[in-house]
Every structure is written in C-alpha cells, then in structure tokens.
C-alpha cells in the first residue's frame, strides 16, 4: 500500500509537469472558478491549441484522431497536474469529453474529417443539447421534435441548461422523431450548427446571479439528414455513449473545504468553539473520504480495471459537503455573514459565493436523488423505480 506512481506513471507525470510549467502559471491558492472573465474563451482556445500541438489534448484518443493513444491513468495524471495551474479548460470539457467522442463513434468519415481536428485544435467549441424544461432527470421524455422533409429534418422545440451554448459553434442534439413508440425508442441524435438561423440562445439568469447556462430555442431549424448520428430511433443508445464518455472527475474540491473554514475560524477566534470543532472533524472525514475514494479508483485504473457506477458517490459527498461548509461559515459570521461585497466579506466572500453555487451542484449532472437511485439499482441491485410510461407510447403519455 503506497501512494507512489509506477515508474511509467512518474515519467509521464514529469513530462506533463514540464510542459505545463513551460506554458502556464501555477494556480493562485484559494482561486475558485475562473469563468466570467471576458478573455476567457480566447485564452481557452489558445491553451487548447498549445495542448493539442504538444500532444496533451485528449490523451486517451487514438493517434489517428489527433490524440496521444495513452491510458486512462495518464488522463487522470494529466488532469491532476493541469488542475494545479491556471489553465482555462472549461469551454472544451463537454465538447471534447462528450460530444466529439460521440461524433467519432457514430459519425461518417466526412464528419470526422470536418469536425474532429478543428475541435481538438481549439477552433470549434461544442455543446450538448439534451435537457429540456420538462425532461431533466427523465431526459428520454424530451419533446423537441424533428420532422423529416425531403433530405432534411425540421426541428422545433426548446433545450435548457446548455453549458456554453452562447459561444458554441456546434452541438449534438437529441430530439424526438417518432412519438408513436415508447419514449426511449423514438429519439434521434443530430449534429447541429449553432450559428444558423432559427437557433436562439438565451442565457439563464441563475439563482446564483451568474449566467453560465442557456436556454436554446429551435424554430424551423433545418438539419441535413447526413448530419444524423446513428439510425432514426437509435438516439437513446447514442446518448448513452455520450454520457459514458463523461470525463472522470479528476479535479479537486469545487470550493472552500475544511482547511479554508478552519483558517477562517482561527482568524476569527472561534476555533475553540466545541460545536465547530465537532463539525470540522466531520468535514475532514468527508473530504478525506472523497479524496481517498478517488485514490482507490485510480488504483483500479492503474491496474487496467474499469471503475463502475460506484463513482456516483463522489458528487453526492462533494456537493452536500460544500453546501454544509458554506452554511456554517456564514452562520459563524453572524449577521455579517450576509454580506457578499468582496471588500467587506471575510475570505473574499468565497463562502457566500459557493453558498449560492452549491444548490446547483447538487442538481447538475445527476441530482442527489438520481445518483442514489444509480447506487441502489446498479451497485446494490435493488429493483428499478416504477415506470408507469414503460410500455406506453410517448404520444399516449403526453
């Protein structure tokens, strides 16, 4: 039992570190999400190009697709090292992590030639258009429809919670092409040009005050049949491949953790408070539980094993943990804790900022409840939830 790299892993890590320190500055301690900055997209595109040219973009992709032909473990190591630097990676995470792999799996040679390299070089940004106002956890219940018209499909409907749609060039779009079969069987996946007429992107004003996500409206948008991914009606299977490609979570904590609240308590003179110490112990145990469980996953990866759905526990722990820490930090500040003005609020308002972000984290990418269902059904083998729409057509249910 140890925490050391194998010689091959150590060699790759050193190579990655050398490359990163040649091109980027180390992350400032305590810096959080760096979205929002105006030049963020330009910086992200520039960094993606450097990465691709250096052979560090999409490490697990085959070389003929512009990847490194490396192992999942190398991808994890790269993620760990890149996270230590001020690397603007956000805009490409979904496109390269989920959308383009779907194009590679189901697209034609034409598609691969047209899209893959440009995405890899940071020239095109992709988004994923699955969720809808009435189809979140139950995404197969989506309503946006596509109707065949000659060699084209005509799209009408609305998507929601689309990250980066406002700066995306392309998207993968899941729509209903046949309402007269059960919901999972009437879906089809397309590539969509986000810059064409009829695609209307509107930022969502989030409860946190920011706008990282969008609504996307489709009004008589025409997509050539050639841009279909998979057969008509096979969209759900294609979508599962997209979701399977979701990157292994390699980042650290999404906000302040036990160390930050302990530092704050020390500066505020409340570290000796017994109730606080009791909670601090729980936060440390949870943070270690999250970190060390990832080490166990990496051990499995390092041995060439494939981690299963048990990975769902990471987000459950993390999101609730963050919300709890921020809540306690604010209450510890008493009335002053309500202040979000960074000039006045302690610790540059990191607790207040994450307090408003945490509710979203508990929902995005699978709610706590859906993740618990995944653990219950796929890890523990308990029966599936009742699905009253299971044997009914979509049209019957809507």
């Amino acid at each position: 039992m140890d925490f050391n790299d194998t010689p091959e892993e150590a060699e790759f890590r050193a190579e990655a570190q050398a490359f990163l320190s040649q091109h980027l500055k180390p992350k400032t301690p305590g810096a959080l999400r760096s979205g929002g900055r105006e030049d963020f997209l330009a910086r992200a595109k520039a960094w993606q190009k450097i990465k691709a040219e250096g052979g560090f973009a999409q490490i697990t992709w085959p070389k003929e697709m512009g990847g490194r032909g490396g192992t999942v473990m190398q991808q994890v190591i790269w993620g760990q090292e890149e996270a230590k630097f001020d690397a603007p990676t956000g805009p490409f995470a979904i496109g390269l992590g989920m959308c383009v792999p779907t194009v590679i799996a189901f697209g034609s040679d034409e598609h691969k030639k047209k899209y893959v390299r440009k995405a890899l070089m940071g020239e095109d940004v992709w988004c994923q258009l699955f969720s809808e106002p009435a189809a979140g956890s139950d995404v197969a219940g989506l309503k946006t429809k596509a109707v065949k018209d000659g060699d084209e499909w005509v799209i009408n409907g609305q998507k929601v919670w689309t990250s980066g749609a406002h700066y995306s060039d392309y998207g993968i779009l899941l729509v209903r092409t046949d309402p007269n079969v059960p919901k999972h069987k009437g879906l089809t996946m397309f590539i969509v040009d986000m810059k064409q007429p009829g695609v209307d992107v509107r930022p969502i004003h989030q409860a946190s005050g920011g706008s990282e996500f969008n609504e996307v409206y489709f009004t008589d948008v025409r997509i050539p049949d050639a841009d279909r991914l998979g057969e008509p009606g096979m969209g759900w299977k294609v979508a599962l491949v997209t979701l399977m490609n979701e990157r292994l979570a390699v980042g650290g904590s999404p906000g302040p953790d036990w160390k930050e609240i302990m530092d704050y308590a020390r500066s505020a003179g409340t570290l000796s408070n017994q109730a606080f110490r009791d909670k601090l112990a729980d936060w440390y145990v949870a943070a270690q539980g999250y970190k060390l469980t990832k080490f166990r996953t990496q051990t499995a990866l390092s041995r060439g094993e494939t981690p299963g759905p048990e990975n769902a526990i990471g987000k459950i722990i993390n999101a609730n943990h963050l919300q709890d820490i921020c809540n306690s930090a604010i209450e510890m500040q008493d009335h002053f804790g309500i202040i979000v003005d960074k000039d006045e609020a302690p610790s540059d308002a990191i607790f207040q900022e994450s307090f408003m972000w945490a509710p979203g984290l508990r929902i995005a990418g699978g709610t706590d409840e859906i993740l618990k269902n995944i653990i219950a059904e796929r890890v523990l083998g308990l029966p599936q939830d009742v699905r009253v729409d299971k044997d009914k057509t979509f049209a019957e249910m809507n």
């Binding site: 110490r277 112990a281 729980d282 999250y290 060390l292 080490f295 166990r296 269902n373």
Partner: protein, 370 residues
C-alpha cells in the same frame, strides 16, 4: 498509486472469510448471547488461536507469524463481519500492540509468544466511571509496586489472564501490566449492552504490577496505543457495517409489501444508498489509517482518528437503519439485527467515544496547520 491491499492480503481475507463463515456462525454467536455463564465462545476461540491470527502482527522472534499490520487489519474486518464472540481485539489490538510499542525486551519475551499461542489473553483496563478518562479522574493508584482501585468496565476482563491498567502515579499516570490470576485481584462480570463480548469489574487490592514504559508517561502512551487500536477497531466496525448493508439489501429485495419488494421504494433505496456512501467513506479512511499504521507514518494520529470517526458513524447508521429496514422483524430477539446494533455501540465507545476522537482529530489538524 497503489491504495489497496495486495493480492496476498486479499487471499488472506478470502481464506479468513471462508473460515469464519464456517466456524463462527450466528448460531455460535448466539450461544454466548443466550447463556449468561458464557463469556465467549471457547470453541471458536480455540480455532482462531490455531489459525495463528493472534500472532499475525507479532514478529517471528516473539513467536508470531510476523506478517504485519495490514494483515491484522484484514483479519479485523472479517472478525467484525461475523461478530466473533471472542477476546481477539483485547488481546491482539490492545495488549500485544502495547507490548510491541512500549514493552521491555524481557516483557516482550515473556508475554508476546503466549499471546500468539493463546495461553495469555490480554486486555486493557482504563475506565473507572462515566465520561472520558483523564489523568485527573482516575483513582486506581500505584504504590510500592502494587495497585489498588477498581476498573469498570473492562472488555474481556473476565476471560483475560493479564491486563494493562492505567493508574495514578504521583501527580501523573502510568501504565502497568498486571497478572490477573493473583490474590490481590477480584473480578466479577457485569451486564452490558453487548452480551456477546463479556465485560468485568476488576478490583485491585495491592496487586503486584509491572511498569509498562516509563513511569509517569501513562497518558501519552495510552494515546499511542489507542491510535494503533483505533485503526484495527475501525476495520472491525467496517466489517460489521458492511454486513448490515448486505442484510438490509437482501431483506429489501425479498420482503413484499403493497404488492412488490420494499427495496423498490426510494425511501428504502436511498436509505441503503446512504449506507453505501457512509461505508465507502469509512473504508477509504480505514485504508488510510492502515497505510499510516503499517508504515509508521507521522500522519497516524489524524489518520487513526479519521478512520475511527468514519467507521463509528458508518456502523451506527448501518446498524440502526438495518433494523428499520427489517421493520417489526428487525426488533425481534431471533433476527440478528440487534446483535449488530449492540456490537456497533460497544466498538464506538471502546477506547474513546466518537466525540473524543473528533477532538483528537481536530487537535492534530490544529497542530499541523498552525
């Protein structure tokens, strides 16, 4: 990254599981539960002694197998799964580890081989009354090489042949080794929440005692002993918590209500998912404790405390919600749920309650991040 047990250690785990499933069944646990005259299951104990497990972490020069702490962790988890009604922890986690840590060469030569072959059963006697034990609230005292006072409760104190006893020694505290089969020692069993592990009140009246470690160093030494035992106890707790989840899961799939298995309801599914998450957090923290213990790492105090806090929480939650999942059946004497609930509480308060370990953890973090 190699944050897992080795293939050899996993082989040992599989063998231990097979052995205990055959040799230490719930019927054998219940022989102790249902018979007040029984302090442990002697048949099971003799077989465990024959396996050599007591000496797993005792060096070969002292008559042990000389395997290591990771192997002892593996065995502890399996004993926890089966609620083994034997004084293994008292003898192997506390007594033997204390001797390894602070015993003189003579003490180690005299006692460790006998712990390994089962002819000595050790225990630790610390508590004298409600609340956390501290140097200031113990009355048992050492005077002229003899000790006088009363320890209550002492886990496995009525089966043990020897005890390590915390005593007042002038203005501070010391640890001493006491042979329990002598005229100055009287023992009597006491009823506890956990009848499958016996407990005693031990009274000392000038009983002769042998100093363990330096005089006056009792409390720091006890902390070190407890740090080591905490990791091993965490593995027992983890084993128990894992069994609770398995029992609840099996019952939820089998029990029908309102026309289907109760495990199809989210209230049950999510409860079991919560158990799973807590157990995994406990497992990861226990592994880290095992790493710190086996590598003599400077991180042992916080690793042991975190392992203990996580495991106590996991076993508590799993044992109480296992009863809940079983409904009325779970509240009967005949169904095993309450045995895990009982064991969970014993293991949570032995060697310091969760509150004590939380404070140890925060103190360690404070010292480190000053």
């Amino acid at each position: 990254m190699n944050f897992d047990f080795s293939d050899d250690q996993k082989f040992l785990r599989d063998e231990a599981r097979k052995f205990l499933e055959a040799q230490c069944t719930m019927a054998q646990v219940r022989e102790v539960l249902d018979d007040d005259s029984k302090s442990h299951n002697d048949g099971v104990w003799k077989k465990i002694v024959d396996m050599g497990w007591l000496g797993a972490a005792i060096p070969e020069e002292y008559g042990g197998l000389g395997l290591g702490m990771l192997e002892l962790c593996v065995i502890a988890e399996e004993l926890g799964r089966t609620l083994a009604p034997v004084p293994f922890g008292s003898s192997a986690y506390f007594f033997a580890e204390a001797l390894k840590l602070a015993g003189s060469e003579e003490q180690k030569q005299a006692l460790l081989p006998k712990v390994a072959d089962g002819s000595v059963i050790g225990c630790i006697a610390v508590s004298e009354g409600p609340g956390e034990t501290a140097a200031g609230n113990i009355a048992t005292r050492l005077k002229d090489g003899g000790i006088t006072g009363k320890k209550i409760p002492v886990t496995d104190g009525d089966i043990a042949t020897h005890a390590i006893v915390l005593v007042k020694d002038g203005s501070s505290a010391s640890l001493v080794i006491v042979d329990l089969n002598q005229s100055g020692v009287t023992r009597k069993s006491i009823k506890t929440l956990e009848p499958t592990r016996s407990h005693a009140v031990i009274s000392f009246d000038g009983a002769s005692a042998d100093l363990l470690g330096e005089a006056g160093n009792g409390m720091p030494l006890l902390d070190q002993i407890n740090d080591r035992a905490a990791v091993l106890l965490a593995f027992e707790q983890l084993g128990g918590a894992s069994r609770c989840l398995e029992m609840a899961n099996a019952y939820a799939k089998e029990r029908q209500a309102f026309g289907r298995a109760i495990g199809g309801n989210q209230a049950i599914k999510h409860k079991l998912a919560d158990m799973y998450v807590k157990n995994e957090v406990a497992r990861s923290n226990a592994y880290y404790g095992a790493w710190a213990l086996s590598s003599d790492a400077a991180e042992l105090p916080e690793a042991a405390a975190a392992a203990r806090v996580a495991a106590s929480e996991a076993f508590w939650y799993a044992s109480k919600e296992n009863i809940q999942t079983h409904g009325g059946m779970g509240f009967t004497w005949e169904v095993d749920c309450h045995l895990f609930y009982r064991r969970a509480k014993l293991l949570a308060v032995q060697a310091g309650s969760p509150a004590v370990w939380k404070e140890k953890l925060v103190s360690a973090l404070e010292a480190k991040n000053d």
